[in-house]
Amino acid sequence: MRRLPTSSTGNSGVGRRRAWLGGWSALLLLSLPVGSLAQENDECFLCHSDIALQEERGGRTISLYVDEQRFATSVHGDLECVSCHMDIAGEEMPHDTPLAPVECGVCHDQEQERHMESLHGQALARGDPLAPGCDECHGSHYVTQAHDPASPVYPLNIPFTCGRCHREGAPVQRQRVIHQSNIVDNYTESIHGEGLLRAGLIVSANCTSCHTAHFILPHTDARSSIARENIAATCARCHVQIESVHQQVIRGELWEQEADVLPACVDCHPPHTIRRVFYVQGVADSECLECHTKPDIVASEDGRSLSVDAGELKESQHAQTTCSQCHSGVNPSRRRPCSTLTEKVDCSSCHAEKEREYEKSIHGVLLSQNDPNAPSCKECHGKHLVLGRGTPQSPTFPTNVPALCARCHREGEKAAVRYLGKEHDVVEHYAESIHGKGLIKSGLTVTAMCTNCHTAHSVLPKVDSASSVNRANIARTCGTCHHGIQDQFQGSIHFVKALESDKDPPVCVDCHSAHTIRRADEDGFMLSIMSQCGRCHEEIAKTYFDTYHGKVSQLGYTKTAKCYDCHGAHDILPVSDPRSHLSRANVVQTCQKCHPGANRRFAGYLTHATHHDPDKYPFLFYTFWGMAGLLMVTFVVSGIHTLLWLPRALKLRRARRKVVEAVEAGGITTSEERTKGTSQHANDPEHEPGDEAEEKNDG
């Protein structure tokens, strides 16, 4: 038989209560000498026995009358008033008002501690005006023992004590998130309620038997007595050896070991309406379907269809789950058991774990704010036809997930229009990415899709530090599939620097992008990487492009050393680190990846050299300027030579044409030599007057 996990998971129960009584008896003895030093109670009752004694507090009139006789019969009757009202111990009478709240925990420390951790205590700490303190259940001056029928915590009274807040219509039930409805009514009609209230069996389970008295927690909290993992143990406190009558269902120990896969008690015996097993004697599905298979059945308040396809139900993962297990507010004693339904289906009664994640996600937060766009369980998983993610027809089957998320996150849809970040066209980009191609084209269901990175139920914007796509977490997220890369990356300077610098060193998505992830061996990816590195390493990227490697890659070819070929991709370390690919011990080997004959001197090649820095690279600087000087001198001298030549050459062209024409015209014979030559000249239009004069001289 399973026991509750000791002190942390709460207590209640008869044995526990006895222990308290022992505890306070001891305290009673201890308090006697204290009492003799403090004011006598008589002194207090001088004023507080006046039935008309009252005070205005926060606009309300509060009676300060204490019935001395009733107080004397309470469990605290032997205590001094100042034992609890400690702040007026030793004060002059009459004392100042108001008094500090009484700290029951001074004596009842364990109970106090539990209570403060519980749902009630948390609400109290938040300052919730509806949160119950000790006196809410136990009373103040007239606390009696739990076995006193007059006590509000006497088993028979507990449903009424709890019901003060948890009955239908009470402020708590209306204003706080309580997933159950008609709690008190249902309990009253349940077999436990009937046993307690009608048959007077005080051993019958009351509220605290299941919820504990002080350590009340929601079922989504793993420490709770009604958490799915603990429910069997809680029920088994009374229903000892219940396994023996459930052999067919649970096969012995399995129930405790695999609480998640087996039906828990509440799956068949819904809480608060525990009476009989539903599908045998209570509300059978066939009863529900009698009406709900009609196609025209609608809700009376808003006219929405309430028709259910029985065929869908049979194919659903919930085929073995009865209607009333989800629609748990039904009351089998009514003619229409569903007439008591007021709450929507709460999937968390079975899927508490998922619900816990969902509540914290952006989807869950929006839902709690009543945002009409917020998706609840059914938006993704469907209603009556819930299929597992292993079923190809399911919207949550891997290859269908992108389309599922795209219903809201496609550009223009309701989620996309609220989004203010930089990632756009995510659906289309994803489909083109290596992941998208793997999933959609190749049908690789193990390929990363939306929920692999964003999670299914803990979806959060990346600015949230708890988000799986937050910069701090992204490496881990990618690392879930890309095993080993994460370790490499987290050892690299980029990751280490992230911890000590206020800059944002790169994470996976900075180089690989979020939704347009490409194969790393594609040219486009390899070339874009250099500009990615260059975003931060601006200078060094520029000088890289001055070298052969850089120039080849700039031309669009990848068969040359790129940043990561030398520096490494995920395991980049500073050159000074001995583990670096470029450390003294490793650099030659790194060069040899492409240059098999590389030697130590070869590695002295300046891969990021610039000829613009005379201090760092004087050789290059002066070589460059020497060559530049040589070029300039050569071009200037030959340029001037050419320009000077040009006008003369133009004239020479005309003279030459004349010669050619003269030769074509027959040339000159020896006899007419002189005359022809002269006349030739006289006809030359190019000859200027000055030329003529000189010509004569020449002649």
Binding site: R601, F602, L620, T623, H641, L646, L652, V659, V663, Q680
Partner: protein
């Protein structure tokens, strides 16, 4: 004050010579030299095109050109193959010089100090001064001999270029070998020298050399003498009056006269030359674009 671009005597001599040897052309380049020059054009342009894609890799045209050449690896193969051709023709030329010495001059003194020498002589310096005077209209056109000073400059520029670009190129080709005895940064220095000297060579050949031989107005649009090896006599007499006089004096002129090539051969040669010229000039434009508008 002006001056004759060319004296009436020179004009007269040219017309007379052409009339005397009607239709003849004069040989200026041997078959081997023509072949070597053509090979040099092909290898030089290949080297320049492939090398430039790297030097100006930051421009779009370089990337496009690199693709056209079959990618950077194939461009590299072309570059090294062309370099081997260049080295080869250089060696061929040196061998030819030895042959020249043995067959025609007998001694190195004859080769190097004769009237047809490629070495710089006192006369070249005088020609430079006289040429500038002529440019400025302050003197007659110098009577240029077998080789003018700018032709000698071009000739030795190749020696210089092959030495500088060739040696640095080998360093870049075999860095693993050279770093066995040289420090790694020598590769960086070699890169700068190789690249800038190549820019100088390319820029010089495609502008200054092109102007001096093809684009200067009296030859425009091109001079095919280096391809055909021969030029019309009247053109020769005007171009190189000094050499003509020398030949006439020695009575060797007729020895060098030949008939022109058939039209079809000349056409083919022109197409080849046009192609080379066009590629060269395009490269000049690309380089200017890269250096002026896209320099980083």
């Amino acid at each position: 004050m002006g001056n004759h671009v060319v004296t009436p005597e020179e004009v007269h001599v040219a017309i007379k010579a052409a009339t005397e040897h009607r239709g003849k052309q004069i040989v200026r380049f041997s078959r081997l030299n023509r072949v070597l020059h053509a090979l040099m054009i092909v290898s030089f342009i290949s080297l320049a095109l492939t090398g430039m894609t790297l030097k100006f890799s930051y421009t779009d045209w370089a990337a496009t050109l690199s693709r056209l050449l079959g990618g950077f690896e194939s461009a590299g193969y072309i570059h090294r193959l062309a370099a081997v051709v260049m080295f080869g023709l250089f060696i061929m030329h040196v061998i030819d010089l030895f042959r020249l010495k043995r067959q025609e001059f007998g001694t190195w003194k004859g080769v190097l100090l004769g009237p047809n020498t490629m070495l710089w002589t006192k006369r070249d310096f005088k020609d430079i001064v006289d040429s500038i005077k002529w440019f400025l209209g302050r003197g007659p056109r110098p009577k240029y001999g077998r080789w003018t000073y700018w032709e000698k400059f071009d000739y030795f520029a190749v020696f210089w270029g092959i030495t500088v670009i060739g040696s640095t190129g080998l360093t870049l080709w075999f860095p693993e070998f050279f770093t066995l005895f040289l420090p790694g940064w020598v590769i960086n220095v070699a890169t700068i020298i190789h690249s800038d000297e190549a820019l100088l060579a390319t820029g010089f050949i495609f502008t200054v050399h092109f102007f001096n031989t093809h684009l200067r107005p009296e030859k425009f649009p091109m001079d095919t003498v280096v391809f055909t090896g021969r030029m019309p006599l009247e053109e020769f007499v005007l171009d190189k009056p000094g050499e003509y006089e020398e030949l006439v004096k020695k009575g060797e002129l007729t020895k060098h006269l030949v008939d022109p090539y058939p039209e079809i051969v000349v056409k083919g040669i022109r197409m080849f030359a046009w192609t080379a010229l066009a590629i060269g000039l395009s490269m000049v434009i690309w380089i200017i674009f890269a250096m002026v508008f896209a320099y980083r």
